[in-house]
Every structure is written in C-alpha cells, then in structure tokens.
Symmetry: C5
Subunit: 307 residues, 5 copies
C-alpha cells in the first residue's frame, strides 16, 4: 500500500528512495526530529559562544559529534559545512539547508530575503560523489517580506526537484516584515502551514503559537489541521529549562498534533554527552511515543542509540 | 470543423488534446465552472477557519472531497497541494495555478508582484508522472502594479506554452496599485478583459463590475464584448446568500454574456454535502442552462454527479 | 541588385525571405502603412469603447475584419490576439508587437518599462505552426526611462534575431520620463530616430514633431535624415478630421520624407466599411503616391483592395 | 616572437587572428586611432545637427564615408548601424560598441547603467555572415555608479570572450555618480586605467586629466604607467581648434605615453573632405610618429590613404 | 591518508589535484601566505601611487616581479591582470579573485555589492589554454549588506565549483553596511568565520579583531575555533612598521591560531628587492615556523627562494 504521505510528484522510479528516506528519518512514525544546525549563518556566532554556552560548542565539529552519536531524524545544515566534516561523519543522516541569511539587518529595517545558494541537483551530485546519506533539503520562506515572491518561487521549485530525486522537502515558513504584527499569532501560523502545503512540503517548521505571550498546545491545532498531509514541526527556539521543553514537546505532539520538531540550541548548547542525551530524549518523545518522565530519565541517564 | 475557440498557437499535434480539454471542462457548453482553491496562499487561513466557517473546511482535503464528488469544470489550485492529495483523488479535473502571493502586504502599501512558481513544462511532466487529469494552467496578472511588466511577460509565455502542450490557459486579471481608483469600474474591467485577449487566454477571471456599489449584469457587456473569443469568468467573491449568488450568476451569463465563473468560498465554506450541492447548482446554471429555480432545487435536494 | 535596405545582419539564406517581406509589406514602394492594433493593452479599452466610438469597435474582431479587407502594409498586434483570430484571417499580413504595457501608471509618476513578452523564436515557431503570414516583429523603447537600458538591450537583440530569421524589425521609440520635457521636440525626435538606426531597425515609429504646438512637415526632416536608411513612420495619434489627417500624411511623406505611418484610432474608430475606406486612403497616399484629393475620393467611394 | 601585448587568455588557435587584428589596427605601431561613432545613442542628435555642424553630418552615412576613405585604426559604432551600411562599406575596419545609453537622464540625478546589447558571439556570427572586417568590441564602464557591479561583470566577460575569438577588447572607463567629484582628476583617471587592466582590456579610453581645469600631458603618466600593458586612448572630447587638438594629441603620446586616441566630433563635425584630412592628420600623429607640423600639412593639403 | 582538509565535495577524480594545490600552496604546512594583489580595482590607484610609495609600484608588473621571485603561497588577483602578464610569469602560483568593486561609493552611503565577474569554468578554461599554474579562486562576501543574499549565493556556488575542479576556494568575509557598528568586533569576526565554514571555504580572509582599538592575538581564538576546518587568514591591512607587522603575524598564528595571512600593501609598497625580502619573511613565519627574529633577518639580508 502506498502511504498517504507519498506525494504524486515523486516519479515512480524514485518512490522507493523517497519512502526509504521518509521511513528512516521518521523512524517509521511519520514524525520527524530535525536537529537544526544552520545557525552559524542565521545567527552568526551568537548561539555558539557566550557566557552560558560551553566552549566546545564554538567548534563546528561539536554539531557533528552530537549528530553522529545521538538519536536524530536528520541533521539540517548548509552543504559547505557538511562537505568539510562529512568524510569523518558518514553515518549522519543529513538534510541540506539550501538558503540562509545572517541576522545583521534587523527585520524592522529591511524585509528579509534569503536566497537559495545551490540547486537541488548540486545536492544530488554531492550525495553521489561523497556517498553521504542525504535524505532531503530545506528552505526558509518569509511570507510578508517584499521578497516573498522570490522565495515562494524558489521553494516551489525546490520541493518539486527534491521529490523528483526522491528527497524529502522541509520548509521553514516564518511570516516577517513590517506588516506582520505578531508572528506568534495562531491564525497567522496556520496560514503559514497552509502555504507550505500548497508548496508541496513534506514537513513545515513553524513558530510556536502564543496567546497573550503564553503557549497552549491547543492553539497549534488550527495550524496542524490546515497543514493537511504536511507535517508540522515546532521551532525549538532559544534554550529553556529541559523539563519544560520536553513537556511542551509532548503536548505539541499529543495535544497540538504536531509531527515533530526542529531543535538546535536546546541540544547543542550543552557539553557533548549531555547534548546527546537531550537529543535522545527529544527523539524518544517525538518518534517513540515516550512519556515526559521517560524522556527525563533518558536525559538523566542516557540511552543507547537507536535502542 | 475547427471551432472558433481553437487558437492558432495550438500546434496541429496538440489540437486533439486541447479540444478535449476544452470540451470536457466546459461540458460542451463553451462555459467554464472553475472551482477556485488557491486561497490558502492568497488569503492564508482566513477563508478556511473562523466563526462562520465549518471546521472541516480547515482541512485541505475538504477541497478535494468536494472536487471529486461535485460537478465542476476544473479545480484550480497550486501544484504542491495537488501533489499531496492527487493519488487519492485521481478523478478530479485539475487546473494548476502557477503563481500566488499572500495577503500580508496591503495593496495600499506596495504594488503586488505574484511570480510564477513553476514552468508549464513542470506541470506537463507532473501530469505524465502522476497520471492525473490536468486540463490547464492559471496565472494572475495585476495591471497597474509597478511589476506589471514581469507578470505580463510571464502570462504571455504561460499561455503560449500551455497551448503548445494542448492545455487550457486561464488568466486572473485584476488591476491593482496606487493608480487604480476603483477596481469594480466596468470600463477598467473591460480593459482587463482586453489584456487577457491580447495575452491569448482561453478564459479570464475578472472582478464583477459595479456602478455606485451595485452590480448590474448589463455592466458586464463592455467586458465580455471586449474579451472577444476569450471567455469571461466572474469572480465568486466572498460568501453571500445562495439564492442571490445563483441569481447573479444566471444574469452574468444570460444578460452579461459571461462564459462562466470562478467560485471558491461560496462553495467550500459549507459542510461537505451542502458544498457539493452548491457546486452542482452553480455547474447546472453555468454549463447546463439551468434556471435559478432549478439550481435552488439542486442546492436543496442534491443531484447525481454528471447526470 | 541587392537594394540599400537589405541590412548586413540578414544571413544569406534569409535574404530572399527578408526582401519578400519588405517588398510585399511596402508594396514595392519602400514605404510602410502599418495598421496599429496594440492599443487594447497600451490604452486598455479607452480606444475601443466610448461616446464617439462605434459599438463594433469594442469587438476585437473588428480589427481583423478591417485588416483582412483593407489595403494595409502590416497589421501590428500582440501574438495572443493573432492566435485567437488567425485561423479565420489567414490573408492578413501580421507584424507581432512583442512588448506592451498598460496606461494605468502615469508617466509622471513612474518611468515606463515595457518588457518583451515572447522571443522572436516563439514568433517564428508560431508562424510555422499556424501557417500565418507573419512579416515582422515590433518593440517599443522609451529612452529617458530609468529602464531604458533593459529596453535598448531587448530591442537590439530583437532586431538581430528578426533579421536572422528574415523578418522585418519595427521599433517604436518614444522618449519618456521625468527628464524629457517635450516629447514633440524635433531635435529629440531626431535623436530617437538615430537610436533606432543604431539598433538596426528597418522602420521606426516616432512622435510627430511640433514647434509651438503646431505640426510643420519640414520639422520632420532632421529626424528622417538622422534615421538614415531606417524608414520613419509617423504616429497616427488620436482621431482627427479625415481631410486634415490625409493632408498631414501627404506632407509628412513628400515634405518631411517620412517613409510611412502607424495608424490605429484614425482607422478602427469607424464603422467597418468606412474604416476600410480610410485604411485604403492612407495606403494609397503612403504606398501609391496618391494625392490628397485621390485619397479623399477613396475615402468617400471606396476602392477595390490591392487594385 | 610573441609580443608583450598578446594576452594569455587568447587561445592558441586564435593567436594569429588576434595579432593580425592588433597589427592591422595599430599599423604595426602598437598605437590605436579609434574613430568614435557611437554618439547617435550616447548624445542623441546633439553631435550631428546644430548651428556649427555641417548638414551632411546629420546623415549617418557621413561616418561611413569618412571611415571608408580616411586613415583610421578602427571605426567604433553599434552593430545595428554597421548592419545598415556594411554592405556598401566593406573596406572599413570595424569595432562594435556593445553597450550604449542616451544622455536624457542627467548623471547628477541617477547613476548611469549602460547594459550590453548583444553578446560577443553575436558579433562573431555577424562577422561571419556579413564578411565584414570586424576587429574588436568595445564597452563602457562607469565605476562609482551604483550599477558598477553589473558593468564590471559584463566588461570582464566581454574581454574574455573577445580574446577567445581573437578580437580586440577596448573599454571606455569613466568614473561617474554622485560620489565622483572631479572626473578629470589625474589620480582617479589612473585608477580607471588600472580597472581596465584588471579587466584585461587591450586598450582603455579615458577622460583627459586636468589640474585646475588645464591639461598638462605629464599628468597622464600616472595613468599610462598604471595601465601597464593596456594602451591608454585619450578621449577626443568636444570639437576644438585643429592645431590645438593635434598639438595635444602629440603631447599625449610623446610626453604622456598614451597609446592612441578615440576621436569623434573633432573629425565628423566637418565637411567630408576636411573630415577625411583631419582623420588622416590624427592617424599620422598616432601611428606614424608624424610631427604636429606634418599633421597640419596633411590637414591642409590631404594625403593619400595608407600612403 | 586523506587529510582532514579534503572536503567531501571534491570528487574522487579531482582529489589528487586538490591535494596537490593545497600542499604546494601551503608548503605542506596547512598554512597559506596569500599575496593580495586585487587592490587596483578595490582601492583604484590609492595603494600604488603616492607620497610614500615607490614609483615602480605604479607599474602593475611590479606585482608579478615580486610574485615570481619571492616565496609566496599564491598571488591573488583578477583574471584580466593575470592574462596580460601571465605569458612572462609562468612560474607564479595564481589564485584568481572572481569579484571586485571600486571604493568610489562610501560604505556609509550604499551597501556594497561586489558581483562575480567570471565563472569558475572560465578560470578552468583559462588555465588549460594558458598553461598557467592556477591553484584556486577567491571571492568577497559582505554580510550585512542588503545585497548579502546575492553574494552568499555566488560564494556557495563558487566554492562548490572550485572543489568540483580540484581548486582551492578562499573567501574574504567582511561584514559591512549600516547595521554593522564595529567591523573589528571579535564576536562579529567569529561570526564571519562561521559563515565561511558553512559556505565550504578552505580559507577565509578576515578583518583583525580589536578591543578598544587594540589588537590582541587571543581575540582571534573565538574566530579560529568557530571556523573549524576552514583556515583563518588575517588581513594585512595598510602598511605598518615591519617589525610590528611580523610580530603580530607570529602571534596571530601561534597565539590566535590563524592559518595564514593575506598581505598586499605591506609587501608591494616597497622597492622590488625589499618587497621580495618582506614577502620571504612573511612566508617564513607563516609556512616555516620561523621566529620573528629569523624573519627580521630575512628581511634584512634576503634568503634564496624556496630554500
């Protein structure tokens, strides 16, 4: 039986590869734990060096050490970074993020425009040459930016080309620009989810909805419903308390019907072993239906990878 | 005999396919009932979730359920959405809308620019791979925008390429921008119709003309005449009373000489069975010369599809 | 003998076709009567519907009826319009206008940018598929616009490609933009003529020169001399009295040394039979060296086509 | 022996053609007399019609008559103009100027952007089809313009492509824009010379350096040194007294170490025979090491071409 | 053993060439002494002519004389300049800088946009035709500029294409624009280093970090760590005292963990023999682990090349 998540733009000869990428990346659960590692461009060095960040996080290899030893769905980062460490981290499942911008220009001053760096065909060629396990590609769209048209176009092409090659397509959809008043508005986030669906994305990474500055998992339901067959990933955001993080993650999935998460700082801003345990805890909740208690146990005591 | 609506840019080897697409989509009437489903980008989630909208409308599959069971000419939406549901809705006649923008930037602030997401060749390849029944492509032009030049160019190419492949080409032509004072002005709408004709469109979706804020079907005649052999489709607009909607539709066709309609909210903002009956009623008026009374009867009691 | 108007960028194997297009379109006179029909985009519906315009002019087919029955050099309009009526009007000699813009944005507000819709290669393919008699292509350049660079580039390519295929290339050159004070200045118009020559055009359509708001045919001589081997066509402009129009046309040719005219409104804003007679009168003056009296006689009594 | 001016980006199979173009155009002297005829776009009709300009200069053929009968290195103009007269002027050595803009927008209002009209490959094809003697291509860069990036890119490609085909590449480098205070500053002109060298040009046409509004040939030395193996051509500028012009030219070469000149108005704004004698005088100083006295003699009495 | 710096995007058949380019350019040390010679565009003639600059520096050949006789890793300059002198300087190891802009527009007025002049494929073809020893390509990115998106894209492609051909890729990353307050901020520079790593660069040339306007080599460590396997090259900057320069260079490497330097003015703004000795001294510190004393000795007394 062809499962519901096989999109019709995957050609027959790539169905096997697409389904394998989907199954392996979601551990058969249909849910994706995306380890987000594109911040060295998006946030420059702010996430990797500072008062509360362990020194080892400043070394880009830290991300690869985590990704190679922890339970993750995919490790999402730029192709150049994958290229520099890939030979030594062949076991990591990669998702290549194909656009990125820095945070030097404030959103309040100029509308964001994050252009695609490389073609999907470049990623496919790279995968073939390097033998690395590349499962998909990613791209950020900023609806509401005056450059929205260019990003919508690039995203639509990227999804089609990814599917044509049997790769997963994950979109980050963040409404921005001077006409976006509240980027945590649940209705706006549901709109962003629908955009991803119309672009054909397999998963969409969204902001977490707030009302009066507070998260409530039920607020997610408008978006997860509007996303249809596109799985909603909640943004991990800046580092917060572990127990709170894992509890929210559990609620996002079981109350809000999200289908995963994209987490960076809450994992990598820790010493290696702790980071691995945190990733494993997140994975357990996301993919293995673990309870929050079970996840906290993993965080405390560790767990064997892919056990 | 080659009918008058076969444009000269359809090459000989595609004449059969073009005429078949035209005949099937218009039920042999030359008139098109276009079920418009591109609003998840154009209006974000505003049309699908809210106080007076049934909850099921928030699920994108609602559109496919309607499209697969109701009488329609074509279901117009983005390729990504078609791709996600197409395997389960193979009977639907699709028209792929190739550009879309969100409504986050007010028209009063910046002139609209809705760029083409994918090439016609991508649609053709998709149709071949998926086996779906894709009858045509659509595109919106905003004359009066400072980006008008780019949209005119994309539209002209899109029509030529659609015809080269035997596909229908439908244009949405909506004058916008700070120099457009009244987008319901009948003379302006007639101008928009002429633009579509010069671009070679088979059908053009237009705003409904008003004088003093009131619709009068006779106002349409300048536009339907100016459109020549290009069929004018009236925009369905926001949801209104059913009887009024169907009466206006009847007048648009029989007094104003429109050749169809593009209706979204007036269909999908209803529970499934009612939505199907409403679509059938619209189809009956548009394609089968049904009277308003007959249409209201269908709306009340239903009718077998394609009966 | 190869006549002086065979440009050196027409390759040997296309010389025959180019000369045939030139000879037939100018009736052997070297002068071109261009029936301009691109205004449905350029002026929207303003030229086709209104108090003093016969109702039949609102139907685009009116243009084809005139073009097929009157004496004309070429009928210039957009490819999409040709495509919609071409099968029924195979005898018309067409010139495809490859760019157009609407008049919604005032020149005083934003500099004009009229982008090329289709490639010359598309026109050539269209001619082959349709069997229509396509003699050339046209393009408008607005020197002085901040987008002048893009239009100069497109025009230069268009001329080269037209010649490479044996097609005529006609440019409309209208200086515009906030630094152009008087677009009827004879010296500026002569500059526009020179631009067309440097772009390699066969004919250039120019504004009519005025001094103190009055036309004087001698004013044209600076431009017709500066144009060198490129023939100057005078713009027909808005509709005026027939006798005055024909007298000015005669003076433009015999005193100002223009090599033709581009006339739209003064022809099509009339009932069919009168429009045909007016076109014939213009053709007689332009191509057959008719006197104004003879032309007025044709206008009054008609004449057999191509007699 | 391969002379120093054979650049390394001329491929082996084009070395012969490149050296032949260089030798013939410089008369074996390494110095180039460029007859500049691109002003019909750059200055519209200002240089060709006016109180002190002979009437025959308004006919574009005047330029070809001069170029075909006078001693010149190359005649530089747009391809379209060459195409219209080339069949009758096969003996002229041409250099095709590949970008041009009009003078309608003041430099003080908007930074200049002169885009490339045609590709070098188009010029090569044109040369092959027409059999004309095309020796090279030219392009203007305006450093300091906000569009500088686009012109630098086009210029770099143009030089590489010209050399790949064995053609000479001549750049006009004129710093412009609101941050350029004095375009006759010797240090700025030397900078422009260096830009040309880094772009790989064979010759660069520069403004003449002034200090306190006066030309002094020694001021040129910074630029001619900074240009390295790229030959500096001094701009001819607006028409001045012949004796003064020829004296300055002599000093530019023998004191300032320029390697030629680009002269338009000082030649063509004269009756034909005088224009030919002036071109011959300039050529004699530039290529044949004639003294100013000898040059004035040629201007007065004429000289046989290529004697 | 494949060393850690062989990136995974170098295809198998180019591994040998890439490693050879790396080994030869770093003298087996993994550190790069880059002789920067792109300033004739970047700074026009300011670095080459002036009160304290020897006259011979104004001749572009001065750079080639130094590069051919001194110990250097690579000589980085534009392709056009290499083309004009390459035949006479075949022994020089070149790195082709593929974008450049002038300094005419102040950074405070307009955000910088330095566009790529030529493709990597052009460089590869040039290397093949000319037989020159081209080891790599270079490109400058200005994060924080409103044109950042275009430069990030070009840089990403350039790195991939360079690696695909076995060439080194060196990026200059200089945050600029109105939102960049202090371009010598160590944290910002570390961010720039991370951007280079994500773009896949082999080396990145960075500004030198200051705190309170003073250089301290320890400040470099955040950046050299954040750069991971991408080697950090410190910008040479404007000419300073030799002893101070060499001492700072030593500290940058041994305290700050830089992996080389990019030096222009501190070398070429000297008479030839002294420039060669200065380059040798820099090379000795960078590649051969020479002490500052040893380097000063080389500067004073010279040393045989590659001894």
């Amino acid at each position: 039986m062809i499962p519901f998540w096989l999109p019709a733009d995957v050609p027959k000869e790539r169905e096997g590869r697409f389904l394998e990428n989907f199954e392996k990346s979601t551990g058969g659960s249909g849910r994706l734990m995306l380890f987000a590692g594109d911040q060295k461009v998006e946030h420059l060095n702010d996430d990797f060096f500072g008062p509360d960040i362990p020194e080892e996080d400043n070394d880009p290899e830290h991300l690869f050490r985590i990704a190679s030893r922890a339970d993750i769905g995919v490790f999402a980062t730029q192709l150049g970074l994958v290229a520099r460490y890939g030979r030594d981290y062949k076991s990591v499942p990669y998702l290549v993020k194909l656009n990125s911008k820095t945070n030097l220009i404030p959103y309040s001053e100029k509308d964001p425009w994050s252009q695609q760096w490389l073609e999907v065909a470049d990623v496919v060629r790279f995968a073939r040459h390097s033998g690395l396990d590349i499962r998909g590609v990613g791209y950020t769209v900023y609806p509401g930016s005056e450059h929205e048209h260019a990003m919508l176009k690039e995203a639509a092409r990227l999804v089609e080309e990814a599917h044509a090659h049997g790769l997963l397509a994950v979109l980050w959809i963040y409404p921005k620009g001077k006409y976006v008043e509240d980027e945590h508005d649940p209705h706006l986030i549901a709109g962003a989810a629908g955009v991803a669906t119309c672009l054909g994305a397999d998963f969409v990474k969204l902001k977490v909805p707030y009302v009066n500055g507070r998260f409530d998992p039920a607020l997610l339901r408008e978006a997860t419903k509007a996303a249809g067959r596109t799985g909603v990933l909640c943004e991990g955001g800046s580092r917060i308390d572990e127990a709170e993080f894992l509890a929210q993650l559990h609620e996002q999935i079981h109350i809000g019907h999200s289908r995963g998460n994209g987490t960076g700082r809450n994992i990598h801003q820790r010493p290696l072993e702790e980071a691995i345990r945190m990733a494993n805890a997140i994975y357990a909740v996301t993919v293995r239906n673990a309870s929050v208690e079970k996840a906290l146990e993993i965080l405390a005591n560790g767990s064997t990878r892919n056990q």
